[in-house]
Amino acid sequence: MIIQVKLFAVARDLVGADQLQVELSGTCTVETLKEAMVQLQPNLAPMIDFMRIAVDSQFATADTQILADSEIACIPPVSGG
């Protein structure tokens, strides 16, 4: 399946786009998604451990499963307020 990962702030600047298209096969979790993102965009590697993944606007955990119709976003440490 092909997943569009929404990117924000430093992640968007590093990739140079506000979405990253990731192709995944088989059962996929947040952990495997992060690995695939780093393979596509090695410059995300130093910060991927700091990034949280949101699935359908909820923070996910490493073993949260990703489905083809999930809305996925990469959430760097937040700094609102």
């Binding site: 929404k6 924000f8 760097p76 700094s79 609102g80």
Partner: protein, 143 residues
């Protein structure tokens, strides 16, 4: 009530939105653009959000605060886009029967906003560089 806005926050309107005869206390917190951070000079800030999720998270915070404190009215507004010095980036207004609960709830909401609401700040430093602020993570200044 929670809101994201590109427009300057109307502080009087925020205050009016929570004041009523039912409450004995209103706490209004404003987060404002600070000129100096650890000696570095800020010229302006830019805020961006993942708006769908930010709104959901803010609504959840309001709901949780209402369970924990006897809140009569609650307004949380976060500004997005470009902010000059001293402009308000966030307003939190809480009305409760007594002041202790309003202070506690406003403090708790602000602490949570800084952990779980997907909004990001970019420093436009006076030296011409810019830098996304990601607490706990090193982000190099960009030209």
């Amino acid at each position: 009530m929670v809101e994201l806005t590109e427009l300057p926050i109307n502080v009087q309107a925020v205050s009016d939105s929570v004041v009523s005869g039912d409450s004995g206390a209103v706490v209004l917190f404003l987060g404002t653009t600070r000129e100096f951070t650890r000696g570095r000079q800020t010229e302006s800030l830019d805020y961006e959000a993942y708006p769908e999720m930010a709104l959901k998270q803010l609504q959840q915070l309001e709901a949780e605060a209402r369970e924990r404190w006897p809140i009569d009215q609650c307004t949380i507004i976060h500004r997005l886009g470009h902010l000059e010095l001293a402009e308000a980036s966030i307003a939190v207004a809480i009305a409760t029967p007594h002041r202790v609960d309003a202070f506690e709830a406003a403090q708790w909401i602000m602490d949570e906003v800084k952990q779980v609401v997907p909004i990001w700040k970019k420093e436009n430093w006076a030296d011409g560089t810019t830098q996304w602020v990601h607490p706990g993570m090193d982000t190099p200044p960009q030209k």
